[in-house]
């Protein structure tokens, strides 16, 4: 299961259908359309992404995500309202103080720093370690490095230092590709991650396993109570099982008319099966009588 949790979405994205088609072709299973918000946003925000935007790709599961670019601390208060409208909430802090705040206290699913620019601060193990312990994962977006050489250099440096700071744990990789050409196949992304210093198995997790964890955790946060209960359906049996049970009940009733209902707990099913297969429905008494008769005729 491969995930690409960052495909930028804007109200007018002419390249988006091609990008989605390419992702489907490359073998991705889950894709998240990312709406970026910066500055102030209202409490009664409406998710502009439609719920099922690409029905022509049934194998691709499409989630809706928001990235809030954190410029000033006042934005932090309204974050909890966004949880209801989007499947994933990500934060993009722009300086180290906001990064510290995001890692230690703010409510989100992902922290995605823009690694294609020079960071004015060092990424420290203490700060990002706090985020990972809380269950908030860090994201590396690789598409910026595809066109621009300076961005590629910055991305390599920053990704390497992020991976060093986190010791390789808690990292997911996604594309942030605005065009189809910026997307790479999952195994190519894993190879790219080894360049930055991530080992092979951690790279595999970054594209598949850990991304799935992020999506499931986000779902649990929204649909379950204290992470314990999530009711999948109301417990009604599926149709085929219902029919089987009906037939069983009917058979039990028919045999019961002959010699009284079988006692509870006693399973007479195999016997009844054999009788039915024999073509005759013999009661136990009749069988005993036939056996006695056969014995006496055999003896005599």
């Amino acid at each position: 299961m491969f995930h690409d949790l960052n495909i930028p979405w804007t109200p007018t994205s002419p390249d988006l259908p091609r990008t989605i088609a390419f992702l489907d072709e490359l073998g991705y299973n889950v894709v998240a359309l990312n709406h970026t918000i910066s500055g102030k946003f209202s409490q009664s925000h409406v998710n502009p992404i439609s719920p099922d935007p690409f029905p022509q790709h049934p194998r691709l599961k499409i989630l809706r995500r928001v990235t809030v670019v954190l410029d000033d601390p006042a934005q932090c208060h309204h974050l909890t309202s966004l949880v209801n409208y989007y499947d994933l909430v990500a934060l993009r802090p722009t300086n180290d103080k906001l990064l510290l705040q995001a890692c230690s206290s703010l409510e989100c699913d992902l922290i995605s720093i823009d690694l294609s620019q020079r960071l004015s601060y060092n990424l420290k193990h203490k700060i990002v370690g706090t985020a990972i312990q809380r269950g908030v994962f860090l994201e590396i977006c690789y598409s910026a490095s595809i066109h621009d050489v300076a961005a590629r250099r910055n991305l390599m440096q920053n990704a390497a230092s992020l991976i060093r700071a986190t010791r390789g744990r808690g990292i997911i990789i996604s594309s942030e590709a605005r065009k189809a050409v910026g997307v790479r196949a999952p195994f190519d992304v894993m190879n790219l991650a080894t360049l930055w210093g991530l080992s092979q198995e951690k790279g595999r997790e970054a594209v598949g396993g850990l991304s799935r964890t992020v999506v499931i955790q986000a779902g649990l946060k929204r649909r379950s109570f204290r992470g314990v209960i999530d009711i999948v359906d109301n417990g009604a049996l599926p149709e085929t099982v219902q029919q089987k049970n009906k037939r069983k009940a009917e058979d039990e009733n028919n045999d019961g008319k002959g010699k009284g209902k079988p006692a509870k707990g006693q399973q007479k099913q195999p016997q009844k099966q054999n009788e039915r297969q024999g073509g005759q429905q013999l009661s136990k008494r009749a069988k005993k009588a036939a056996a006695r008769a056969a014995a006496t005729t055999g003896v005599s």
């Binding site: 590629r152 250099r153 910055n154 390599m156 440096q157 230092s161």
Partner: protein, 138 residues
């Protein structure tokens, strides 16, 4: 009049020494000297080389040897003094850095420039101490 002698307080039992093993140091430290041929005179405005010259020369050196990956090595310039610099870089990249720096010859303002490694190690104090040790016996 002297005070009556007071028995000294009972000495506390010495705590056992704490042992720490540093297995994977995060950073490596290097001390480099920029060498010019023909050398600068002391009054020249370009001497000692400033931090931007260091940054540009180091980037050029690493790009020449290792291309983009080389220029992406994270180097912190900790301190500059005359024509020496104290640098900090991630431990994994020290080998690449040492290789690039040792063989580099470039041109700045018509003069040939190269690096001389005065020390490289896992601990800054060790690297600096070694340089001071040489000065002691000179």
């Amino acid at each position: 009049m002297e005070e009556p002698s007071v028995t000294p307080p009972k000495t506390q039992k010495a705590e056992p020494p704490v042992q720490i093993t540093i297995k994977n140091p995060e950073w490596g430290y290097a001390r480099l000297k920029m060498i010019y041929d023909p050398p600068y005179t002391a009054e020249s405005p370009s001497y000692p080389p400033d931090i931007l010259t260091w940054r540009a020369t180091l980037t050029m050196c690493l790009t020449q040897f290792f291309g983009l990956m080389g220029s992406a090595i994270h180097i912190d310039i900790l301190y500059l003094e005359n024509d020496e610099a104290w640098l900090r870089l991630p431990k994994n990249d020290t080998t690449m850095f040492a290789a690039a720096v040792s063989g580099y010859v470039g041109i700045i303002e018509g003069k040939n420039v190269g690096f001389k490694t005065l020390g490289m190690g896992d601990f800054l104090m060790g690297v600096l101490g070694k340089g001071e040790e040489d000065a002691l016996w000179a």
